[in-house]
């Protein structure tokens, strides 16, 4: 039998990789907790091709923390944010790689940069970004990303409480009363609420749309796991959401501790 020839339908560029550390590019958060740094850190000075998506991986340096990251294009002092407040966390077990995929157009020759805020000041966040060209598979590029549920006051997201009964879905919590435009799909960021001594819990998370009391599940039972820092940011869901929709999240947990059962989510809609 012959070997099936796979045609390369996409190009990939590691837009933020440090060969010196075998990691991402270090971005230091604002000097004051919960404040973005004054300047953006360049991830790449000039992108190699027209990209239709960017995969973002964010890791926080040492110690328990939550962080929000802005991704921007444009020359220094003229940055335009394309992704606002990408959520990531770190717990006691070490860095958790938050991986998010954003189908957004970035022209060739663009400068890509980032800035961050964190639950403590001047924390280092390592950022790896991968640009993806157009291809036959995956999401189609969109013009904009809308962030729902990010909470800059505590560098986190919207708190989800699974409730006091184990393994039973808790209440829906509103992320947005009304989406601004039709979404082609979305990504989900997960946060640990800066919990320095979490339990080893597991969650199943639903994303839904609709008014309070009549939510319809659009993504059921996403799995999350806590090993000192909740892991499970979900990269991309090819799940359309109409403009004007109320979006909410809920969860169940195998633990009932009133603090440790909580976690944050933020949703990034692309359209």
């Amino acid at each position: 039998m012959g070997t099936k020839l796979l045609s390369a339908s996409r190009r990939f560029e590691a837009a933020a990789a440090s060969s010196g550390s075998s990691g991402g590019i270090d971005v230091t958060s604002g000097a004051i907790a919960h404040n973005k740094g004054a300047t953006y850190t360049t991830l790449i000075a000039s992108t190699a091709f027209d990209a239709e998506a960017v995969r973002l991986v964010v890791m926080i340096g040492t110690g328990t923390a939550d962080a929000l990251v802005d991704l921007a294009v444009g020359a220094a002092l003229s940055e335009q944010i394309i992704v606002n407040n990408a959520l990531c966390s770190r717990g006691t077990q070490g860095p958790v790689m938050a991986t998010l995929l954003f189908p957004v157009r970035i022209p060739a020759g663009s400068r890509l940069s980032a800035r961050s805020q964190c639950t403590t000041g001047a924390r280092v966040t390592s950022i790896w970004a991968q640009l993806i060209s157009a291809g036959s598979l995956g999401p189609h590029a969109t013009e904009r990303i809308e962030t729902l549920g990010a909470a800059t006051a505590d560098s986190g997201g919207t708190s989800i409480d699974p409730g006091g009964t184990a393994n039973t879905k808790g209440a829906w919590v509103e992320l947005s009363a009304s989406t601004s435009f039709d979404y082609q799909g979305f990504a989900l960021g997960i946060g640990s609420q800066n919990n320095g001594a979490p339990g080893t819990f597991a969650w199943l998370v639903d994303v839904g749309i609709g008014g309070a009391g009549s939510e319809q599940v659009v993504i059921p039972n996403l799995i999350l796991r806590d090993r000192g820092g909740i892991s499970g940011s979900h990269e991309w869901f090819d799940c359309p959401i109409p403009g004007g929709s109320r979006v909410a999240g809920r969860a169940q947990c195998n633990g009932t501790d009133a603090t440790d059962r909580l976690f944050d989510i933020a949703l990034y809609g692309a359209g």
Partner: protein, 115 residues
């Protein structure tokens, strides 16, 4: 826009929290106006009172304090001078780092899951 708590009328179980209600609320649900502000994370829903109440504070236990009070080490600890105890206590806290405080219910010994 006010925030609403939508709960099961008979049980008090919270079903949804938000600013936009269903056009027609199901017959088994009640919507309670919570005012303009979303309840903070320091509060949680109480089914019995159908209201948000203070969330119980998390109890953390200091492993350094537990180590010092460990009966296995009592005689050894007693032979140390106050200065030696202070140095050991401080250094132990530094070495434990983020594992110094454990959840009430976790063991003194740090398990393979890092608890």
């Amino acid at each position: 826009m006010p925030w609403y708590a939508v709960y099961e009328t008979t049980t008090g179980k919270l079903v949804s929290l938000g600013t936009v209600l269903a056009q027609t609320l199901p017959a088994n649900l009640t919507a309670k106006d919570l005012g303009l502000n979303k309840p903070p994370d320091l509060q949680m829903w109480d089914e019995a009172t159908r209201a948000f109440v203070p969330r119980p504070a998390k109890v953390l236990v200091d492993r350094v304090a537990e180590f010092i009070a460990d009966p296995v080490l009592a005689s050894t600890w007693a032979r140390l001078t106050p200065s030696q105890r202070s140095i050991l206590q401080t250094r132990l806290g530094e070495v434990l780092g983020t594992y110094r405080y454990r959840r009430n219910g976790d063991t003194l010994i740090i398990d393979q899951d890092g608890n």
